[in-house]
């Protein structure tokens, strides 16, 4: 599970390089995300542009990351592909997460304008 990190301003952008977050890699994803979010900026953005497939294990891992990050910092998502967006909307998790069309929109808008 490959994740790349880019701190820009007050945002830590973590980009998923793998094209699947599924049962095969959900635990590794969760563990690596914990390492990458233990410290650093208070705003964390997960760029999922490369992720073409997310199953319920992957969804659970993303939820776990949000819980790990906690309520004192923000954890937002960007770049959901059609398959991934469908999983979020079917489970109504799209009402729980702040989801941006892409990383640029997330940085440009800032927290307050996110939908």
């Amino acid at each position: 599970m490959e994740l790349t990190l880019n701190d820009t301003g007050d945002v830590r952008i973590i980009t998923v390089a793998d094209n699947r977050i599924d049962a095969a890699v959900a635990i590794q994803f969760k563990d690596k995300m914990r390492e990458l979010t233990e410290s650093g900026p208070a705003r964390i953005l997960l760029d999922m542009t490369n992720v073409e497939f997310l199953d319920s294990s992957g969804l659970g891992a993303v939820v776990a990351v949000m819980k790990q990050v906690g309520v004192d910092r923000s954890f937002e998502l960007a770049g959901l592909t059609a398959n991934v967006e469908k999983v979020f909307s079917l489970t109504r998790m799209d009402t729980v997460f702040t989801i941006h069309p892409d990383a640029q929109a997330a940085i440009g808008d800032g927290l307050a304008n996110a939908s």
């Binding site: 497939f53 659970g60 939820v63 398959n83």
Partner: protein
């Protein structure tokens, strides 16, 4: 022996191969119950559907349902100590996609497929569910789902309605 005539035996590693019959209407896959083999089976399934002319919009839900159903088999029907085989058939009949998934693992709890109730997400972040979405997704995306068990073989059958169809 012709692969189609193999007696389906759990743990029968000598019969495991990624054989698939891809005539124009049916795909039959038998593969070990592990995550990497599942990825391979999903890839073959997508190729089969693409070759039949299905769009990504139609293929996406199929991949998800197959992944959820087989993940359940890997995690619950089989276990860390018991490695088994998964048998997947996808049949296209009159533009409808029919699925049959079989395994020789433990029965489903209560001998029935889980209802897959939706979660109430109106809670604090710390209380959000991290699991239990699988059967909900399967139920949302399929019709005519039926679970049967004969001897020590589980059989899950369902239909994935294509985009634009409500039945």
């Amino acid at each position: 022996m012709h692969p189609e005539q193999l007696v389906f035996v759990g743990n029968a590693r000598e019969h495991i191969g990624a054989f698939g019959t891809m005539d124009n209407s049916k795909l039959h896959l038998v593969f070990p119950g592990d995550q990497m083999s599942l990825r391979g089976a999903l890839a073959k399934s997508k190729t089969f559907l693409r070759n039949l002319g299905f769009s990504q919009d139609q293929i996406g839900p199929v991949e998800l349902v197959l992944a959820e159903a087989v993940n359940n088999i890997i995690e619950h029907a089989y276990s860390d100590d018991v490695h088994g085989v998964v048998d997947v058939s996808i049949t296209c009949v009159d533009g409808d996609l029919l699925f049959r998934i079989m395994d020789d693992g433990l029965p489903m709890p209560g001998d029935q497929a889980p209802a897959g109730m939706a979660h109430d997400l109106n809670c604090d972040v710390i209380d959000l569910p991290e699991g239990g979405f699988g059967w909900f997704l399967i139920r949302e995306l399929t019709c005519d789902l039926a679970y049967t068990r004969t001897g020590n073989r589980n059989r899950l059958e369902f239909r994935v309605p294509l985009t634009g169809r409500t039945t």
